[in-house]
């Protein structure tokens, strides 16, 4: 086990950009975890004069927004919201995607037809509009936004899983399992899935990045949960002040950009590490 892990780490580290991405992601996770200790008060509290620019007042290193809330505190707590939604949405999407994709490929026939048409149905609806519709119906709660993002992002995972399963399901080892009388579920999830998983994991990491963007868009449009701090909401609130106090949009914008970039880089690194054959393209 250990040499394999080291090998994996070595392959990952060969991609320098991925290491930078990983460090950034660790930093964001660190900030998210440490937020309650650095800023013990509710981040949405009004604590100072509105529109203090960054680096002017040492109490508010990133300045204050149009209501006088500490942007640094909102960014720190916003990291929690963002990562939580990203992670949970990605898990939701991966679970749905793998189940649908695996079932479609393994059983084939009319099940495959039906599930794939179902997938296409979801793919044809513009993602953002679909998310907004779900949030508008369910309500403005963090968990509903998570479900909404998960529900729209599972389709590529389903298709990828199906493709991997299709290439694996008639291999000798699978036929051997069948000959041994293993149950379908055990073959699917015990034998085929571990072999099909690496590319799916890479895609799932990218789904996190996508989910962060979706959450930002939903909050930007004012449909996010107003009871929690969120980067997208901060940008949305600062939009009208873009000519005078552009930093209110720029600071969370930068945070979103760096996080999404970092997640993408990590995704690339994972791809290199998990698919060594593709490494020397």
């Amino acid at each position: 086990m250990l040499p394999r892990t080291i090998d994996f780490a070595r392959r990952f580290a060969r991609n320098r950009a991925a290491v930078v991405g990983l460090l950034l992601v660790i930093l964001v996770i660190g900030i998210a975890l440490a937020a309650p200790w650095i800023y013990p008060r509710n981040p949405l509290r009004i604590v100072g004069r509105p529109e203090i620019w960054p680096f002017v007042n040492s109490r508010f290193p990133l300045g204050t927004d149009s209501l006088g809330r500490d942007i640094a505190a909102m960014i720190a707590y916003g990291a929690r919201t963002t990562l939580l939604i990203g992670l949970c949405a990605s898990i939701t999407a991966t679970l749905i995607g793998i189940t649908v994709g695996a079932a479609a490929a393994y059983f084939g026939g009319w099940i495959d037809e039906m599930l794939m048409r179902f997938t296409e149905l979801f793919q044809t609806i513009p993602n953002l509009i679909f998310v907004l519709t779900i949030v508008a119906i369910l309500g403005q709660k963090l968990e509903y936004v998570t479900i909404a993002v998960g529900v729209v992002t599972w389709t590529p995972i389903a298709r990828l899983t199906r493709a991997e399963f299709l290439s694996l399901r008639d291999r000798e080892f699978v036929q051997a399992c069948r000959a041994m009388g293993m149950s379908n579920l055990r073959i699917m999830f015990g034998e085929i899935l571990p072999n099909a998983l690496p590319p799916v994991i890479v895609l799932s990491s990218l789904v996190i990045a996508g989910a962060v963007l979706f959450e930002s868009a939903v909050s930007f449009l004012g449909l996010g949960d107003p009871n929690v701090s969120s980067w997208g909401r901060l940008i949305g609130d600062g939009r009208t002040l873009i000519r005078t106090s552009w930093y209110i949009c720029a600071v969370p914008g930068l945070a979103i950009m760096l996080t999404v970039l970092a997640l993408n880089l990590v995704g690339d690194g994972l791809n290199d590490a998990l698919n060594p054959k593709l490494r020397d393209r």
Binding site: N42, L44, R45, I46, V47, G48, R49, P50, S66, L67, G68, A136, G139, Q140, G222, L223, P226, N227, D237, R239, T240, L241, I242, R243, T244, S245
Partner: protein, 534 residues
């Protein structure tokens, strides 16, 4: 708590606006108006669902339809009724009937003459059943005495100011009988290209972009309108309206067209002016409403305590950038007739609020007195911030708050149809006349499930209903004003729903646009007198 205001900053901009106005509309009367030109206009909202929406439909269709369709009278900024399609409206001695004399030589845009039959049709088929609703409850009959005279008869005495306010208000638009007779007024497709007697004719409505109007060459006042063409265009975002002003693609924008912080930037160069006149007959307020279906809010002390916990100066200064002020009572301070300062006031005092809640039987138990659902209607951007501020203000007196800021449709549903809120933040715009635009938020007959912008709190007080009923038939003006003030005093004390702040909407115009903002509801004016000094 931040108490630094933007007031100093605004005082200087107000001064600048005033100075630039000396060369602007105020002096227009002495200058000879120039004919011709195209005026590019917008407002601080979105495209309407239809250019004319007979039952009302909000500010956007009101803005587009009033350039085409006129009313019998209009209210000036100094609160005098001026003739438009009617030259005279006279009450009988018992105020149970009114004689309306119409203007001669008025034609509809399609060439048909405008007569008393049109007015009778409007009264009976349009105003009473569709647009004016309860305002014309007392109407008994309407008949054409001769082609230019209409007689209205009522079951009860009708105060003169009240009737003229209805005629000059949003519900008094005069539509052509020969077009609408026999059809469903609300769904008639002509509403997308309305026909009226107004100074402008609809040329073309390009959906998603703009509507273009041309000068009505046969307008009843041959010297008007001054403009050749009027274009109303819509933008989705306030910041892009501000850019359009700077790019010379916009001459005038009513009702807060640009982000508040942009106002001083635009007006500082002298190229644009900010005007706050012209909104007194559609005074906007931001209200807080306490759902009377919840036991907690049935207690008056609780409602009063929550009012006391809100720093309304902060809302005015920080959230509205100074373009609002704390309300006093239920009637906006711009209402020169009914406004009174002699009402229960709620100065910001969280300590007293906490004490009142202790006294009302809601002490702090394990960190919280009680929890409430706060619904802040998401149709104005400021409401998002107000919701967030109120959450904090209530949490400061140990009330747990779950905030929701739903979109427009969901907000309307939660507040006015499902009554699914404990405390709500909403808006409304009332006319100077209190009945029904202000009273319907408090009276028992204002409780109409599903009807937006009515009594959604479920508050019902026979004493209050009686005051309003008396006011509806009181024809002596001073007595009527006294009743209006009684109404205000009672409502302010009871606080089932109260305005938190009076908004001060602003019109942004290029300084070469003349003669604007001269009536009590400029946005809904025909704009015939506007001219361009170019």
């Amino acid at each position: 708590m931040s108490r630094f205001s933007r007031r100093d900053f605004l005082m200087t901009t107000a001064g600048a606006a005033l100075a630039s106005r000396l060369s602007g509309p105020a002096f227009a009367a002495t200058e000879a108006p120039k004919r011709g030109g195209t005026l590019l206009a917008t407002w601080g909202g979105f495209e309407p669902q239809s250019l004319f929406v007979p039952p009302g439909g909000g500010s956007s269709p009101y803005f587009t339809s009033t350039k085409v369709i006129e009313r019998l009278v209009r209210l000036t900024v100094d609160l005098k009724f001026e003739p438009v399609l009617a030259v005279d409206i006279k009450p009988a001695e018992d105020f149970r009937s009114y004689l309306i004399k119409l203007r001669e030589g008025v034609t509809w845009h399609d060439g048909q003459p405008f007569t008393a039959d049109d007015v009778v049709f409007n009264v009976l088929e349009y105003w009473k059943p569709i647009s004016a609703g309860v305002s014309l409850d007392a109407l008994d009959s309407a008949e054409a005495v001769d082609p230019l005279t209409v007689l209205l008869k009522f079951k009860a005495p009708v105060p003169e100011f009240f009737l003229k306010s209805v005629l000059a208000g949003k519900s008094g638009l005069v539509i052509p009988k020969h077009i609408y007779a026999g059809s469903n007024i609300i769904t008639n497709p002509i509403n997308n290209t309305p026909i009226g007697t107004g100074p402008f004719k609809v040329k073309e409505w390009v959906r998603g972009s703009h509507v273009e109007y041309l000068r009505n060459e046969k307008y009843w006042n041959p010297s008007l309108p001054y403009l050749d063409r009027l274009v109303i265009r819509w933008w989705q975002d306030p910041a892009s309206r501000s850019a359009a002003f700077e790019a010379n693609q916009l001459d005038i924008g009513v009702f807060n067209p640009v982000p508040m912080p942009d106002v001083p930037r635009l007006t500082s160069g002298g190229k644009f002016i900010a005007e706050t006149k012209g909104y007194s007959n559609s005074a906007w307020i931001t209200t807080i409403e306490f759902n009377q279906r919840r036991d907690i809010f049935k207690k008056r002390e609780v409602r009063q305590a929550l009012m006391q916990a809100i720093d309304r100066q902060f809302i005015s200064d920080t959230i509205f950038f100074g373009r609002a002020h704390p309300s006093i009572g239920a009637i906006p301070s711009s209402n020169a007739i009914f406004f009174t300062k002699d009402v229960q006031d709620y100065p910001f005092d969280p300590k007293k609020a906490a004490k009142m809640l202790d006294g009302a039987g809601y002490p702090v138990k394990s960190g919280s007195r009680f929890g409430l659902n706060l619904v802040s209607a998401g149709w104005f951007e400021e409401n998002v911030k107000i919701g967030q501020y109120l959450k904090q203000a209530f949490e400061d007196i140990d009330i747990t708050v779950d905030l929701a800021v739903p979109d427009r449709a969901t907000s309307l549903k939660r507040i006015y149809s499902d009554y699914d809120y404990d405390v709500a933040v909403s808006n409304n715009s009332g006319s100077i006349e209190l009945i029904p635009s202000t009273t319907q938020y408090y009276t028992t007959d204002g409780i109409v499930k599903g009807a937006a912008f009515r009594n959604a709190t479920g508050y019902s007080n026979p004493k209050l209903d009686e005051i309003v009923a008396k006011m509806a038939v009181e024809t002596d003006e001073p007595k009527r004003i006294a009743l209006g003030k009684d109404f205000d005093r009672l409502v302010a004390l009871e606080a089932p729903l109260l305005p938190m702040v009076d908004l001060e909407p602003v019109t942004i115009a290029r300084s070469d646009v003349r003669n604007h903002s001269t009536t009590a509801d400029f946005m809904g004016e025909s704009w015939a007198e506007l001219w361009l000094d170019r």
